[in-house]
């Protein structure tokens, strides 16, 4: 234990000892927390393409987001490629973000009951939005409104 920091003693303004980073950063070595740790990094790499690509495509070329309307989305979702892209992005970004909220909550919320309640609220909201988004991406059919794009 080369760099153990005793956090049981309030440090009263004393600077934290500089951590020795040469062995790499801390990480869980097993269990759910390791899978969550790994998921954040793998999904992050995928989202680097999906979410950053989506953001740049939607906001920068040909007038940016102002060109987006029903016809635009109907034409875009005419392609299974973009439906797949959007669904993967929806799923990965939601889980990545919900796990981020869970991590922050575990860092700052002390009362176990409140922590549990908040995490459950994230899960319910995330699950609901995942279902809503999935239903829309999969079932959207512009011909229902007579505008076959």
């Amino acid at each position: 234990m080369a760099t153990t920091i005793d956090r049981s003693q309030p440090s009263a303004g004393a600077p934290e000892p500089q951590r020795d980073m040469r062995g790499g950063r801390e990480r869980p070595i097993g269990g759910f927390e390791l899978w969550a740790w790994l998921f954040m990094r793998i999904s992050g790499l995928v989202l680097l393409v999906l979410a950053v690509g989506h953001t740049l495509i939607m906001h920068l070329p040909s007038g940016g987001v102002d060109r987006v309307d029903f016809q635009f989305v109907a034409a875009r979702w005419g392609s299974p490629f973009w439906r797949t892209w959007d669904w993967m992005m929806l799923t990965l970004a939601l889980i990545h973000g919900i796990n981020g909220l869970r991590n922050i909550t575990l860092d700052y919320v002390r009362k176990p009951g409140m922590r549990f309640a908040l995490n459950m609220a994230y899960y319910v909201l995330g699950f609901t939005l995942l279902i809503l988004g999935t239903v829309i991406v999969v079932t959207f059919d512009p011909t229902k409104w007579g505008s076959g794009a």
Partner: protein, 152 residues
Amino acid sequence: MDGSVDGFAGPRATLKAITVATRTDKKKNDDFGTVYRGHEGQWSWLFHRVTGVAIILFLFAHIVDTAVIGWGPEAYDKVTAAYKNPLVHLLELGLVTAVIYHSLNGLKITLIDFFPSLAGHIKALGRTTVLLFVLCMIPVVAIMGKQTLDLL
């Protein structure tokens, strides 16, 4: 987890181990929170959290506003019309900024975690990340700024 450092071991597991282990240890409330001070890393850590929360809050709203398309062109075009507004454009620039920062800093974190030997170059990597972020922001601000001006 039972308050011990289960699931963590080794010289580089210590801080996180203590942090996570005490999450479930009601007796050691003083250990809560992982705000740290001391070097540049504190800022990238803070910005990563703030941008992450901003992005997930936007994502919640964005899934709902996109889902409105399932209620037809009239409903959806009403939603997208609300975006054609200079104030919303400013928020939009903030969102794009947050996404770019979070992705570049996340890439830095992932590289260091997957190749621990890089941790020895953490300052250089941090500065490279900031430089890349600034370089990306130049065209983004120029293009989105022009879009906003065109709207006025």
